[in-house]
């Protein structure tokens, strides 16, 4: 597929994957022939057993890895063909919640969130206001001057979510965003993510939590052995 074709194809969805496969070792597949599409503002759960390829799929979508086969279009750009300047530009439009949070240990909570605004050039005064607002929404505003290592696991997870959402991304990729949260906090965070989807952000949430999937009743993509086993309404 040419870049022009890819852009044309992308006009139908915010994210499109065409027959994507990923191999780390010859003869084995972390992902096999995955094709799917996410529209603007769509909320999709990605589920499947451990080792099914959920994290690999997410990493491919923000360009941390390249597909072995197939094409990935994110926000109209062919991720595999992005150069040194193109990839950061794309990532500034994508919010990512990592399974291991990936927080900056030497910076405060406020700066961990603020860095996502720094890279898109938000002026300092707006930065402060926006950081405070998102920290208040995730319940961490009172800990904004603390460092991540002084926070509990749940607080660190909320901080990672705040960083992913503060730049109002067009696409949110969240890998187990509620894994360390209690049921009450899980619902609060999921409401926050659903709210982002309602405001036009395409949301792709990887989770094992079937109760959560049932509660929100959104589209579900299930991976098994690296291939798409289900794509549609939540299985009953």
């Amino acid at each position: 597929m040419s870049e022009g074709d890819a852009r044309d194809a992308a006009s139908g969805g915010l994210v499109r994957l065409f027959h994507v496969s990923k191999s780390y070792l010859a003869g084995t597949h972390a992902l096999r022939d995955v094709s799917l599409e996410l529209a603007k503002g769509e909320f999709v759960f990605l589920t499947g057993p451990s080792g099914a390829g959920k994290t690999t799929l997410m990493r491919l979508m923000f360009g941390a890895e390249q597909p072995s086969e197939g094409q990935i279009l994110v926000l109209g750009r062919n991720v595999a063909r992005l150069g040194p300047a193109g990839l950061p530009a794309l990532r500034r439009r994508v919010g990512v919640v990592f399974q291991d949070f990936k927080l900056l240990a030497r910076r405060t909570v406020e700066d961990n969130v603020g860095v996502a605004l720094d890279v898109i050039g938000v002026p300092p005064r707006d930065r402060k206001a926006r950081v405070f607002a998102i920290l208040k929404r995730v319940g961490l505003h009172h800990r904004r001057h603390h460092h991540p290592l002084t926070l509990s696991g749940g607080e660190q997870q909320r901080l990672a979510i705040a960083r992913a959402l503060v730049g109002e991304p067009e696409l949110l990729l969240a890998d187990e965003p509620t894994g360390n949260l209690d049921p009450q906090l899980t619902l609060e965070i999921m409401d926050l993510i659903a709210d982002a989807a309602a405001r036009g952000t395409a949301v792709f949430v990887a989770t094992h939590d079937h109760a959560l999937i049932a509660r929100y009743a959104k589209r579900v993509v299930r991976l098994e052995g690296g291939a798409v086993a289900h794509d549609g309404a939540p299985p009953r």
Partner: protein, 302 residues
């Protein structure tokens, strides 16, 4: 991201980096300082020797010592030929009596040598001075060649050989200084590069995270470049201060040794512009070391 915002962010990250690893930063700065101290010492010696050379240049002239009892006609012809030579500014006749008088006034301690003699041993001479544009070894040699063959000239003196030898010594010391500077500069560059690489390694997680949230290469690299620049500036200032301290403390004690190299003229410290260049060289070393570390340690991953 605006340049001002990026600069602000880079400065904050740089200061955090320097606070995070003060020992390695200090090692880099001290290494640069020591390198510049040695290079600066050579620069100091060469600049003082060059000022001596410039002073000799101003006094450069050719003396044609005359045969005793030279007649008026060949003397006039000699002075006329000398004046017509390209680049000659003045031609002056110095009688034997005037030569003795000059000797007594310029070498009072040795004046007694003349007093014991029945006859004045000093010959009459013709002193030929060149204009500033022609005060070179080549011009002096050409003038000497002209005068040596003229009737009535017994001997030619110019001191040109000594000046040429001194100029060669200055050039040699300058070359040694440059060679040592180049070797030390390269060694310092590697040390600074390794220091920054350690810093990059210690903060690799942070760098990965910044890339994952969309930071550009310049955003990621600028704190490290700034760190190298600051370490280089600190090293440059340290080198200059050390050189100043060594100069003011040790130079007076060296006395005779320095007189041998730079003559009787008062030794001078580096000029303000040379001092600025020395500090700038430190900053450039730090910056180049950082850039080398970033180029070598560039992440292969996306």
């Amino acid at each position: 991201m605006s340049l001002a915002a990026q600069a602000r962010s880079a400065l904050a990250n740089t200061l955090a980096g320097l606070r995070g690893s003060p020992a390695t930063s200090a090692i880099a700065a001290v290494t640069i300082g020591v390198c510049l101290l040695l290079v600066g010492a050579f620069a100091l010696l060469v600049s003082n020797m060059q000022s001596i050379l410039a002073r000799f240049g101003e006094e450069l002239h050719v003396v044609a010592y005359l045969e005793p009892g030279i007649a008026q006609a060949p003397l006039a012809a000699l002075m006329e030929r000398a004046l017509a030579h390209p680049g000659v500014e003045t031609v002056e006749y110095v009688s034997a009596e005037e030569a003795a008088e000059r000797f007594r006034s310029t070498q009072p301690a040795r004046a007694v040598l003349l007093d014991g003699l029945e006859e004045n041993p000093l010959p009459a001479s013709v002193e030929v001075r060149l204009d500033t544009q022609h005060r070179s070894g080549e011009a002096v040699s050409a003038l000497s060649q002209l005068l040596v063959g003229l009737p009535g000239v017994a001997e030619i003196g110019s001191g040109n050989e000594w000046i040429e030898g001194y100029a060669q010594a200055v050039a040699l010391i300058r070359s040694i200084g440059l060679a040592i500077g180049a070797v030390l500069g390269l060694a310092t560059l590697l040390i600074v590069a390794n220091t920054i690489r350690l810093s990059v390694y210690a903060r690799r997680d942070e760098i990965d995270i910044l890339r994952l949230v969309g930071a550009s290469r310049s955003y990621v690299a600028s704190p490290f470049l700034l760190e190298g620049l600051i370490e280089g500036l600190a090293g440059g200032l340290l080198g200059l201060a050390s050189l100043g301290a060594v100069w003011s403390g040790v130079a007076p004690m060296l006395g005779g040794g320095l007189t041998l190299l730079i003559g009787d003229s008062p030794p001078r410290f580096l000029s303000p512009s040379a001092s600025v260049w020395l500090v700038a060289a430190g900053a450039a070393l730090g910056l180049a070391g950082s850039a080398a570390a970033l180029l070598q340690g560039r992440e292969r991953s996306r």
